[in-house]
Amino acid sequence: MRRMMSRPLFWPLAALLLLLVANGLFNPGFLSLQWRDGHLYGNLIDIANRAAPLALVAMGMTLVIAVRGLDISVGAVMAIAATVAAWTITRLGAGNNGSGLLPLFAAFGAALGAATLCGLWNGLLVSKLGMQPIVATLILMVAGRGLAQLISDGQILTIYYAPYAYLGKGFLLGLPFALFVVAVIFIALQLLLNRTALGLFVRAIGENPRAAHMAGVRATTITPALYVFCGFSAGLAGLLVSSNVASADANNAGQLFELDAILAVALGGGALAGGRFSLAGSLVGTLIIQALATTIYSIGIPPQVTLMVKAVLVIAVLLLQAPRFRSQVMSLLRRPARRSA
């Protein structure tokens, strides 16, 4: 038991299970899954599906935070990607009357290209110019939505193009397609980080940048690459969101995603000061956030409470990570025990 408890994924998973079981007790139908029209339906699938965009953003954020960085521009990048995709589709005159798949790939290419460029921009500011990450990405956070509105001319762009909807609403093998997108990225990252030395390098840069530099780890290449990936994953998330609602809103797409992504990393056990990170943990953190939101909706508490619950969660997780708080709690717990002995 003790060994199980010391595994890094134990606490996040326990929290998620507790949340789901508590829901199952209040609402017996909550955990059930149904097979209908060749699709799997149920609250669990729904939570996973809704969490998909955040999961993508959180994976990028995990890696950036692991090297002592931060990317608060992800929400703006999502808005840019969504707008670019919608703009491309409108430009190519794609409608429902079968104009082939060319507009689809053009939209993906343009949107992901733009998002990757955003990531590269952030990476260069942080790594080449040595700006603080929060400041460097603040620039894009402020200007990004302005750029997105410039492309959309301040309008909410509606997408009338059936193939585009598949990304966010389609099903593959009975499961939402978005889950496969997340799975592919996750597995690719795991292979890249664990089968090559990259994971070790990332950890080294986060634990001690100077020592990593002395040891010959090329932080000036790795750090921008991670920001590029963060931009790319945010772009992908933007595509998922816009495909799901069949429109692109430059002003509101991806609003507050930067905060939720940071929260997911913290909940998953990643150290916000860099070094320790866990992609699987961040995914669990994402699921916790979505499960919490769904729970609050389903038991009829006003949804505004979600914000406060998230705030309390962040503070609790941070305090539990803080060495001084731990030792204070420990000494409080030990004192009565000593008295009774």
């Binding site: 931060l70 500011l125 110019l129 040595g130 700006m131 603080q132 929060i134 400041v135 460097a136 603040l138 620039i139 894009l140 956070m141 402020v142 200007a143 990004g144 939505r145 302005g146 750029l147 509105q149 410039l150 001319d153 301040g154 905060l259 940071i262 913290a266 916000l272 000061a273 006003p302 505004q304 409470v305 979600t306 914000l307 406060m308 998230k310 705030a311 309390v312 962040v314 503070i315 941070l318 305090l319 803080a322 060495p323 001084r324 708080f325």
Partner: protein, 335 residues
Amino acid sequence: MSVVSGSARSSWYASLARTPGTLSLLVTVSLFVALSLAGGIRYSGFLAPQVFMNLLIDNAFLLVVAVGMTFVILTGGIDLSVGAVVAFTTVLLATLVQQHGWHPLLAMPLALLIGAAFGASMGLMIQRYRLQPFVVTLAGMFLARGAATLISVESIGIDNGFQAALAGARIPLGGGTFLSAGAAASVVVVIVATIVARYTQFGRTVYAIGGNETSAALMGLPVGHTIIRVYALSGFCAAFAGVLYTVYMLSGYSLHATGLELDAIAAVVIGGTLLSGGIGQIPGTFFGVLVLGLIQTLIVFDGTLSSWWTRIVIGFLLLAFCLLQRLLLSRKALQ
């Protein structure tokens, strides 16, 4: 060239280069003057004195928030909760005055107290448990916005006579120009803050912490207390800005002032304060806010440019000033 020129010239240049804060301030002021002149040349009526008074009237709350933010950033921290605290204050005031019949003069001090206490508790967590300021204040932002929506989801209009009189109050400055009560209050805040930053022990400790926290502690300065007080001050300023905002808008709404924290940070940076702490001035922030306001006014005067250009220009200015700061710092490091 500096070798050939007289010693007097090279010495003022050297003293400017040694204090990057002053040089940044000069750049900000020149930018403000240049923007005003450009506006004056392109648009008729742009240089009317009242246009500049309106800058203060429309940005009074941003100015007060940015002053609090300057102190926080001078210590090397950041406060992302300010916009949410402004929103919370507007909702609290509107509810107390409109629905519970409190007198505004009773509700306002309560709001200020809550803001300061809220900031102090965030400062306590940052200082005692060594948590990162951006995460703690992020949580604070969630908490304050959540609390605001919990009190009321709807926007609450205020028709209290005293509030309305305060909103309509005009302080004539001669020549047909005037300031609102809120704008005058914000100018007072700037003056007081400048004096506090320059001439009090608290102010000097703030600069010392930003320069090097360990050295400040070794010098025997009250580092811990000062950090907590800085966040309390920022919370107080945000609540004060909330009071000004309530008077300005005559309503309380949980979605008021979204993204205000970004504008405040931008104003502080454009005003020449270094985000790594230790260097910067309150007057710089004053001009930073004016530059932001001027950009907005320019876009309004132009009429053909869309509002999103504001965001893009502010982003560009942020970039330019961050680059300028790096340049000044690297030159300082070389000396």
